[in-house]
Symmetry: C2
Subunit: 357 residues, 2 copies
């Protein structure tokens, strides 16, 4: 049963775990992935080229230390990497859901995480951590279940999107839905799919993931071939080549309908809309928050994090807030930035000590 | 003859003039339009709903005062509002140029402006003014003809695009060129045109024209219909409706090929690439510059303007620089912002006085 009242089932969940659950079941950390992530957060399944998307954060001796913690990461509901989503078969019809897949919420994402934890025999979590959409799940989780998580780590996230954030999402969805190969979302099994729209969406998103500064350093106005501009419409500047590559390679691993659902979930997310209700639940919570932003992130800038901090503090929820210096924009949460990693590590170390792990 | 060596002709130019040229031909101001502008800068041709795009700047008693100055504005070369462009008939083939239209440069745009002035009997200009791509033309004009303009007004412009600027242009062009109705640019006379691509490009561009702050104030997270979100993929937030309207209405007045050419002209523009050569020409110029930026403009932020100022000052070119406070982002140059208008007016008043107009 989803927040909207729609029923959906059965739901399959793809997940990975790292480290070992202790006998008391008290050392688990849930990793919530972002818009285009998946369950493969760490390790490499024997292929060093296929490292998980947060392999620099999760592992033995890393900030999320698998020598101490048992780490779970699942592909989100509505995803396209193993968990039931719009590309899955609707048992009622025998065909893929497409856009008949019910629109879900961040709360629904958390509901599925909790069902998985029940299956794994985990009760209270030592921690939950996520960047961007991942941080939204962590925040919602604590709001709905204020005593279920000891340490909540909300990285470069937002309690609600700004008009500009929604605008970028809206244009991305337009690009996908107006692609003639979209076919109203029922492109599965046809030999066409909205590749153009999805790669346009991805290219645009990538601009918002990098800071202007990091783009300048990474590409500047450098040309792809030699010194002399070609003066034509082909890929001439290096930044064009980079974006095109990002757009193309994304098609191999992502489904356009999932992109629509995940961006829309974020648009509608508004963690503190019912401030009185949320405050009433959170006062006296046993959860401690770490909120992290990056100073060059302009997708979810520090103001988004500050807003979360202000609200939580107004209810006397314990919050540590850190704005980390990093030139890499929103993408910073995926990168090995020493101060960021130290901050996460210290917060989780303290949590482990408090919990006697 | 274009800068690339390509030949193009004949070239028709659509233009408008406001005010009266004095007997000495010394009171002319050239208005250079931006990416999607046209020759209709001021007045309304009897239809008050069809006011020119800079009607608040140009007119009797306005900052560009038509009681004092004779004002000329032309549609740019490559345009789609009357001047020869990719939609015009190639006399050699009898069909529209499409992508066989030669790629031109900002220098070529100026060449056409100067030819028009010759036709109008104007010699030295009292002033040239433009915002964004318009400012690039003003800058290039002075670089190539350092004694032809008394006052050069360069508003929220750039001497060269950043990687991020190019990236946004590149994605816009991808959206257009990968639209199946683009047909390699030869869509004229078919019953299809790349409307989807062009409106996606326009929607995305609009995000970059507004500041985050102005989007928040203008739209916030307000919904289009009532209080309750619809939780679907239709237009629900007001900002979505705004963007969709901008995308749609743009189709009525703009040609996709012109969009490709104009954005590419900007990508390749690099006013000071040959700094030694440019410096040699500009030292001792009789032109005085006014460079204006807006503090919330993130398409061409103040750093772009500062870079122009720094370069000009290094050659001892007289420059007045003003960063104007305005919450409206890049769009500010089109709006009636008192301090901005006063600044332009004062600069042109002084010019008129100096010239004895």
């Amino acid at each position: 049963m989803l927040e909207s009242g729609a029923r959906l089932g059965p739901v399959e969940v793809a997940y990975e775990t790292y480290g070992t659950l202790n006998d008391e079941g008290t050392n688990a950390i849930y990793v919530c992935h972002a818009l285009t992530g998946d369950a493969h957060a760490a390790g490499h399944h024997g292929d060093p080229d296929r490292r998980g998307w947060w392999d620099n954060v999760i592992g033995p001796g890393r900030p999320v230390d698998t020598d101490r913690f048992f780490v779970v990461c699942s592909n989100l509901l509505g995803g396209c990497q193993g968990t039931t989503g719009p590309g899955s078969e609707n048992p009622a019809t025998g065909t893929p859901y497409g856009l008949t897949f019910p629109l879900f919420t961040v709360r629904d994402l958390v509901t599925v995480h909790r069902a998985l934890l029940g299956h794994l025999g985990v009760g209270r979590l030592a921690g939950a951590i996520g960047g961007s959409l991942g941080g939204m799940q962590v925040l919602q989780w604590v709001i709905d279940h204020p005593d279920e998580i000891a340490a909540a780590l909300v990285i470069c996230s937002s309690s609600r999107l700004s008009a500009q954030n929604i605008a970028f999402s809206a244009v991305a969805r337009e690009a996908i839905m107006r692609d003639p190969d979209f076919q109203g979302g029922d492109y599965y099994g046809t030999d066409r799919s909205p590749d153009t729209g999805l790669s346009i969406a991805r290219m645009m998103a990538h601009i918002t993931y990098l800071s202007e500064e990091s783009m300048r350093e990474k590409f500047g106005r450098r040309l792809q071939h030699g010194e002399a501009p070609r003066f034509d419409f082909s890929v001439d500047f290096q930044v064009e080549s980079y974006l095109q590559h990002q757009g193309e390679s994304f098609l191999k691993r992502f489904d356009a309908n999932t992109y629509l659902y995940m961006t829309r979930v974020m648009d509608y997310f508004d963690a503190f809309a019912d401030a009185t209700g949320v405050g009433g639940r959170l006062e006296g919570t046993s959860t401690r928050f770490l909120v992290v932003s990056f100073d060059s992130d302009w997708r979810f800038d520090t103001e988004h994090s500050r807003e979360i901090v202000r609200q939580l503090q107004s209810w006397r929820v314990p919050v540590t807030f850190r704005e980390i210096e990093s030139p890499y924009g929103h993408d910073s949460f995926l990168l090995e930035i020493p101060e960021y990693h130290r901050t996460v590590e210290a917060f989780l170390d303290r949590t482990a000590d408090d919990l006697g792990l």
